[in-house]
Amino acid sequence: MEIYDGSGEPFVETDAGQAFIDLFARFHDENKSRYELQAKELLREGHLLVPIGNSILKYWLEDEGAAYSISHDQGLTFSNSLGLAPLHWRKGLRIRRLVEQFAHSEARARLEFLV
């Protein structure tokens, strides 16, 4: 799909890239209420485990940001930090960023790690 982005050059997204963006957007919209609950719990507890299929996504707070990793062995071992997003000092923007982080990580887990 060719999109004009304001930079003066159209960009053609690859099929894989477009599939990810579509899933990311779908998860963001469909699971928003669950993600908001998760975000509040993460901000309160500092860490969070979310089972996705046969895998587990782990989220934690570090250095004024939120990171996540994935486990494929029921939580025995986790991957390196796959994503890190800084969090705003305003709570509303913190939750908004965390909702995005949850949607991104689940879309990535679904497509990249085939969970």
């Binding site: 304001g6 890239g17 957007a25 796959l82 800084p86 497509l111 790690f113």
Partner: protein
Amino acid sequence: MTSFVGRDTSAICCPMWITSFGKDRGLQSSSMAGHAKLLRYLHICLVVILEFPFLIDPTPVYATMGETKAPKASCRIEVDNAHISSSILKHRKTRFVKINARSICNVPQQRVLLTLEIYKTGIFGNHFVVQFQTNPIVASSSGLKVEIANAAVKCLNNKTTRYFGIAYSKAIIQGAWQYAGRTRSTHIVPLNCGT
């Protein structure tokens, strides 16, 4: 180089030279000058083969297959410029700023840990937006090309913002850990996407 291979090549070389000489118009006459010229060429041919065998690469490909060293690794990191990507799903016209990055090598790379950071420019310097990493233990993190193609951040508004990406990596290449320094997008791109 073995002497067998050298002999084999000279046998190929001389007829080739004679053949090319045979196309020379000077040979079409049977004058003495032509014969002298032919002898002179044959003499040069023999001298070259006997005295300078290394000038003619005599080793056929199959003879060197067991002796070749591993090719020198030539690897690089590419970071695309930021661009807008949009969901094409019905009723979900969400826009994202997106940057792709890849580690490319001419030899297999394993356990690639490719890190991509997205930044936006600001009045008091650059602001860190988000960081993504590959998972080195999965199959997609090995091979000649390892890519991050899902580094995206949702646009909050249409405010023009300038973005760029920085990537760096480490990987096992030819049995040893290799590190690639920080590589930046070629352009800082203004996009109608505030984050």
